[in-house]
Symmetry: C2
């Protein structure tokens, strides 16, 4: 697969070091180091392409904002991502994150819950530190965006985790609501809206770029779920940044976790009753008890029933929706880079 | 034991319903109800004397602030308490909270982590809603207080949980640092400082009432740990409000959890080597594997070595320290009620 497009690549090379510097300023090495501050730095240290914070800067640039004013808020979004995946990995009892054991596999669940809490508090610490930079009103507008978006994220997560607990298979409609809430805000709408707020864009333009980001994030997550079925080292090199964690995870890990994905929902409405019973029993089993053969069996069914093609189709439609929102925003160098990001993250895959 | 003193009792009867109304306004019943919004209301619904939010109002009153302006922030502190105990119960794998099964025993760990996260987000949602009431600057001052205090809490929790994981027995000095961080802020210093901020008190007076609250909270926690060894239905009726959870918990539950308390630290430095080995093996065992006989054996040693008297002495000294800070604050009706609270929560016990 191709490398990162030139405009986007230049942008990331220029601004990501600043964002990372800002983020790590808020992650000092101090006591209690072993139990808190070292593990807090672990996920942020594992790297990534930092597309979410880049989105904050790009959305600011698109509306002629001063990108220097957006670096701090960008760091807050990257911190939110670290918090969210620490708790998500515990909730899913995941094994690996970016090729290394998940935090709770290294430090146990009690310490890791607390590390996640502390990372979430850092998000608000960073946003509060916007005050001297942006003034109290804008600082609070950004906190409000974070609070409202957090609510969406936790609602989405409640569906995702609750369905596993209740052994409920959602309809496609239910699934899309969950995806919009769980991922749409914090991977797309949130960073884009925040950048627009910092630039002082009108409420209408905030909405438009928010829709752009949300549709891109949803498309990206569907693609991420697709990649989970074909993960290989080669794929892992493509875009290790904006992902809920397929890369560095085991192939079919989502199936082992019993995760509801569009692919699985599509399979369950297409396959024969006997196959459905088989797939459900694998999904409902504890992840450790599923064998590699069982996972491969589900993947074979997914391929047989054309569920990959179906998910690709939905992904493509969402990417198109995203593109259409982007076109409503006045042309600028920043908009070109956003278009490249959309193309790179989602559209180029097909 | 005596009932709540008259002035304090009148105050609580008058203001707690307002605080609860405010808090539940931020806890709507909506979808996803079963997986999120119903469990979010569970701990707040289990009641309590609501001493923490009452402290916010009293600290505001003491400095001639308008208590109406403090109700919302008081609700935020009660919400923080609910968040903290949801995660704390998971981290300690506790069984019971206020006489009912802990949230994660009812809904599982994954959903309950997410419920806690959503409650923590509510804290900032409430504080952000202070903006029309108090203006952006004061609203941010309160968010800053919450952020800084949260950091203390998570640092304290990191020690508490980390020591169990590392099988480390802290010195009394280490223990007191942990207690100040884990409990001192959110049970005492935080609510008092917030009330003083709302009233517009000087930085010096904020500090003074903060110290008062912190010392009271530490004394109270030590007393709470003492009660955990003697919990009975009768005790449970005394002060079910300002507690990290002794009431409605099983006698000696702290010992079963391996919790480091002043009592246990004192025992381990006083008892014979063979007894020390015995106590440590019980502390380090998983809580389910400890028998009632083992717990009673530890309690018997605690009594034999005078560790209860020692903890009472430290508690009394902290209560005195708290009283001395209170006396530095100008006399008022509110101060009298704070003195009653200190007396009721800690001093009257001895």
């Amino acid at each position: 697969m191709a490398s990162v497009p030139r405009g986007l690549s230049d942008f990331l090379h220029r601004y990501i070091p600043e964002i990372e510097r800002e983020m790590f300023e808020f992650l000092p090495i101090q006591e209690p180091e072993a139990f808190l501050y070292a593990p807090m730095r672990d996920y942020p240290d594992r790297g990534g392409k930092r597309f979410r914070p880049a989105l904050v800067l790009l959305a600011c640039q698109v509306f002629d904002g001063n990108m220097k004013n957006a670096v701090r808020t960008a760091a807050a979004f990257e911190m939110f991502q670290s918090f969210a995946v620490v708790h998500d990995d515990i909730e899913d009892d995941s094994e690996m994150r970016r090729g290394k054991p998940c935090l709770h596999k290294m430090h146990g669940t009690p310490l890791s819950i607390n590390v996640g809490d502390a990372l979430y508090a850092k998000v608000f610490e960073i946003l509060n530190a916007n005050r001297p930079l942006l003034g109290a009103e804008v600082a609070l507008d950004l906190i409000e965006e974070m609070v409202n978006g957090s609510r969406e994220t936790f609602e989405g997560q409640a569906y995702d985790v609750g369905w596993i607990r209740q052994q409920h298979i959602p309809s496609e409609e239910e699934f899309m609501v969950m995806l919009r809430k769980k991922t749409g805000w914090y991977t797309g709408r949130g960073p884009c809206t925040a950048g627009a707020i910092i630039a002082g864009a009108s409420p209408e333009l905030r909405e438009t770029i928010g829709h752009f980001g949300e549709a891109m994030a949803i498309a990206f997550q569907i693609r991420d779920d697709l990649l989970n079925l074909s993960t290989s080292e080669q794929d892992a090199s493509v875009a290790p940044g904006l992902t809920s964690g397929a890369y560095g995870k085991e192939r079919g890990g989502d199936i082992a976790e019993g995760k509801r994905t569009l692919i699985i929902i599509d399979l369950l409405r297409k396959c024969a009753e006997s196959e459905k019973a088989e797939v459900l029993s694998i999904l409902h089993e504890e992840r450790q008890k599923n064998t590699a053969e069982q996972i491969e069996r589900v993947i074979a069914l997914v391929e047989e029933y054309g569920c990959i093609e179906y998910a690709e189709e939905v992904c493509r439609a969402k990417a198109l929706e995203s593109q259409q929102y982007l076109e409503k925003i006045p042309q600028s160098a920043g908009r070109d880079i956003l278009a490249e990001m959309l193309d790179f993250l989602v559209q180029r895959a097909f």
